[in-house]
Symmetry: D3
Subunit: 291 residues, 6 copies
């Protein structure tokens, strides 16, 4: 039996400094089609799915609009209606494609279980929920709020991922496993952030207004972490799995436990250099951890 | 762009002391229809959904029966069968309507992200799961247990919310975000309780018998809290997000952490006056919390 | 009203030492049919579902293939395709039936809320996800990885349970409530293990390779527990609800809290005799637990 | 192998002169349930269908409403909406049930291929189209014309039977095979009429107004016959298969051919005594027919 | 009760000689929206359908693409795929819209049972099959024949109307009732032709090549007429219901019977002045017809 | 643009005298796969359909079972149930495959509009209805009559083709266009028969017993022909389109008209040599036909 390593698709090359986002998007879409073609040949039982979802489409946006339309539709919100809406929204805002490509790359580079771009596009509920959220967010900003909220509700039903359409989410986001993620109305998430499943960016229950966390670039938030209130998580910080965080966390520090404490202590917390949102190093602080 | 505040629908007026529940239900249903009509006019893409789910129905119960039937059906449990069952159950027990109205009001008043009654009716999985649970609970009490359990299973599949049909749930309940909530067979939840997502009211694993928590009126249970065993959470208590609670909690006290501890100490816990299940104040104990 | 106890179906007899697995499977399937027939008679509204899913089938495998095919299908992955795939896989590997029967027995014996085998077969998402995972795992081992991953994705969408198809899962498994369970690519779970909802057997974020927990036979993992990295949980250990575990846990010891600590201390942890994965005793350590 | 005769269900007894229509309806519904129960026992593959469509319902009307709702629904006209509409209409007009029972009896007595009442209820598109037409006709008369026409369109799509909702149809109607039947807006069909497939009761193309045939009681219209214009087909007349009729036909005479001629001649046409709409004697005039 | 006449929508005004087809299309689409809005208001049960199919769309083409996509889809040819295909085809060829508008006008003017444009758009299978055929014909001419034939097959399944995608069909076509119409591969149909149900424009069975009828402008073909072979039906001719025609028919003559004969005789057939395809006068030759 | 002739797939070679039916079936299935592969490559929009319906299957029978299951299913008769039933029936009776291959060859050779075997398999409702009938007929003969009749009903709804499951149908059958064909309970159809659309092989209305036509080998029955009663149509006879036949027709003669007459006269009818069921020569008698 071939090892998993042998079966992996080749990794994406590092982006050259001169690569434009259009080059990048074209390259990723070409990879996705090549992967899907290879898989369709080796697995006839899956070929129909790969053709309908990827190979029959002329662009990443059309493929995504089709796939999301079929995933999120219901007997009262038809796939044709959603497909139409998604196509229109992608066409009106090219930044949605750029963000999708950045998220695909994030999953491919950071998640060892992500064996190909097409694997992410087809199967990662975190990726799909994030793209659908971006459409809902755009509708929200156009004051088409009932539609944004209906979409929000479908994402929560279908993926068990609950991102309020008003929440601002950056690019290069990895929602890994993703079931149970809750991100509230006034939350802000920076670029290159990685968020594991069951993470809450929750409110404080006060009446409306700014009441949800602000997550800096490059942050890693471990599984089941709960961050509540209008607190600031500094860039490159690492929030340990299961932490409950109610106050600000300085940049490039690590927080663990419930109640949460800073590794190295509140006064002189230990800082790290790497960007955990990209390295996905969940447990290097393990020696420090009691049992 | 209008602010969210400007776009909010008017809040419900306080209930006059002489308001009957029938007045209240009629008033809420009229609001829902007015909201849906306004949204259908401003958003033609959503009008079909709003008409089929709300505007074509003559009562809140019929609208709910239709919406739940379409949400919970599957290829082997047809929407027509469920719709029929829900209509019959609503018709046979007017208290189900009263409870639904109380839950709608709870979401509208307590959740700043709930912009209208129709938003809750259409989109809040916690609200919908709660109403479907009440029907399953009624079937359970009529000894129609296989049907109650089939419904239970559909709610868990569709909403990722798992409330055993034997669990007794009060009125004025807010299940906020709601994904991952688990409420066991012998649990009891009082009135005006607010429960965030990922909350467990779990058993102790002992053989059958009374083995799940009893939650008093007005309790607030934060995200991810785990309460296990036949323990009593006193009325007005606040269970901090991520707490793991295995023993009784006195009324109007606050519990945080894993393992959980009472704010103010086991001997003389700090008490509060307000009803946190209604105020939804998650984090006023923040100054007390380490990091 | 009859009590729940009175309504329970008779418990399974203890397995005689001479019982073969074929006898056992035959006996369980006969029980399931008898239960379904009784329920169909008492509840005509459910009879159609019981006939299509159980009573019209000639074997447990066919019933499971049908039920999973209808649960996991989508508009782009047709039920007929999945049904075919599941039938073929069950036919090619009799150990899948043996494992399904062991899991049915585990739910029936350990979970007081499981009133019958058919209740588990029809309604327990943990049971269904586990059987679907076993099929995905077999496909994975046959290097049919795109298909295995597509199935993995459907299980995660439909049940909110995320078990990587490469993960090795034993027999006699109970995934209780099951919403939110995440089991990573290189995890190994022994026999007779019980895992509650929201449990994570997660990775360390290192590049690919062995990076997930190894769970011994007879372990009980409480709700919301998070176990990260290539750590070994000794056989018969008990992981308390909400624990966050990053290092090895000795056999027959109990771990609680976040950060986790061993009951009795790291040096001389208290050990227990029974097998908690089977007794499901979540809270006998309660006296030891602070609040 | 048993002969077809041996497998036939017992025929309905002749109606006693004192039988009320309620007795009759009760008797027929009891027969249908008994037949369905027998078939469900002998054919498990069909049991699910029989339970959902017949055995789970408490009355013929509910069964019909369910069956028609599922047959006539589409992705934009939901089964729940149609079911609701049909239930309401049946409840508001008991004559619909009486007519359905008369049609069931007509099929059972006149069509040798109709082996049971349940066979007709489940499988005869002519019977089902006729009942759906009666509902559309009622909506038409209540000036709910857009809804009546939408239903008309669904009947034409699903059954290839096109009966304008304004057409007046009597009781005891047999539409045998039924594909291709077209009955225009101002047509009137009496009681105890039998109409074979591909029959047209068409208009003359004149501007609106009375422009379709009037069919007397007890008429038999053979396959493919075309009757055009506001002509009167006298009671008990027999219209031969393939006839094209543009003028009145006297009672109890027989018309054949294209162009049509009266058997026995225009002046002194041969008359018959029996009621061909009930005897279904298509070809007793055969000796008279050239080849 | 209002009479049918009172309930009719206003008729379309005669086209002014200066009306462009774009004016005409705009006027018709505005009428359709106004009609649908009126109907949605008076019939809430239908409003959802009217919004999804008409009122949420910005153009006739989008409405048609949506409606046809939902009508013609199947579990293996998804509505999203068809919708996409139809939108693209309409966008690439404006003549398709012009033809659709001419057909709408034809139904509205010629068919007394057609009470409004929206009635035709929503409910007339002949109209819908004709528009879908035009798309299939375009695909055929682009050598996308497998797709054209798949569409052909869906039209035949759904509407029981079988028009080979190679057949050339003019504008201003009325397929009245339409069930059972068969039009073969090399048939040609002129403008302003009216064809009733069950009409066959069939081949001669010879090997491939030109083998189907050529129908002149303004022809009326009565119900059940069968025209076989590469014969020419002259413009303005009238083919009586049930005729079987195997040879050419001169312009503005009338053919009746099986075997068919020309009214007035083969040598000096009676001719008429009006255009029967537009007047829809089926039976003015009635005095001439024996019985 | 390539001509239709240029785009045609190569014709099947004549069967060598030594070809076994297994060779033939293998050859046809290989052709079908090659055609589908070619079409999938040239038309990505259709590839998903071609893979799911043909290319993912290992045999003609599995492809047919899948395609028919998806075509004939309804919300109350699931595709998985039908697929299972069809697979089992094909497996139990190899003659069903032989007959399917003979029918595919018949369509390919006789129908100039049939451009490939896969075109017939995918798109010809006459072919599909015939294969589904053979399964229903087998069930009928096994005394599984309720199931046979349910299938009969679905065929009639979906294809508008009504073949009683008791009717005996030979091999090498072409049902061309096929809409509206009605074949009664005691009809018998020989081998190599071609039947056009709207043909009726109907009963006489007498009480049960033998009452439908017996059609000899090689007969051709034109569109709209109506044959009634237990009459014998001799082998190689040709029944003209629109004929109404109530008495026996001698071998190799031709019948036309309504009322029908034999070409050449009742006493000495003209006979022909070729086999019209195979040559499909509908109109060589044209010179003989009046207008």
């Amino acid at each position: 039996m071939p090892t998993n390593e042998e079966l992996r698709y080749p990794s994406p090359p590092p982006l050259a400094s001169t690569t434009t986002t259009d080059d990048e998007a074209g390259w990723v879409w070409a990879q996705i089609k090549a992967e899907a073609r290879r898989d369709a040949e080796s697995e006839p039982a899956l070929a129909s799915y790969l053709y309908s979802t990827i190979l029959s489409h002329s662009s990443l946006e059309r493929s995504l609009a089709f796939h999301l339309g079929n995933k999120l539709c219901s007997s009262t919100l038809l796939s044709t209606l959603l497909y139409d809406l998604f196509l229109d929204t992608f066409a009106s805002d090219p930044s949605l494609r750029v963000a999708a490509v950045a998220d695909l790359r994030a999953a491919r580079v950071r998640d060892p279980a992500c064996v190909s771009f097409s694997h992410c596009l087809l199967n990662f509920k975190g990726f799909l929920a994030c793209q659908a959220h971006r459409i809902a967010h755009k509708l929200w900003n156009q004051s088409r709020r009932p539609l944004a909220l209906a979409l929000h509700s479908r994402i929560s039903d279908v993926f068990a991922i609950d991102i309020h359409p008003a929440a601002k989410i950056g690019k290069g986001i990895l929602l890994d496993h993703a079931t149970g993620v809750v991100i509230g109305e006034t939350a802000v998430v920076g670029n290159n952030v990685s968020i594991l499943h069951h993470v809450t960016l929750g409110g404080t229950g006060k009446a409306s207004g700014d009441r949800h966390p602000k997550i800096g670039d490059g942050v890693l938030i471990g599984a089941g972490a709960i961050i509540l209130g209008d607190v600031k998580i500094g860039e490159g910080a690492k929030i340990g799995a299961g932490s409950v965080v109610l106050i600000d966390v300085p940049p490039r520090t690590t927080t663990v436990g419930n109640p949460a404490r800073l590794l190295g202590g509140k006064e002189k917390p230990t800082t790290h250099e790497e960007c955990p949102g990209e390295s996905m190093d969940h447990t290097s602080f393990i020696s420090d951890y009691i049992i």
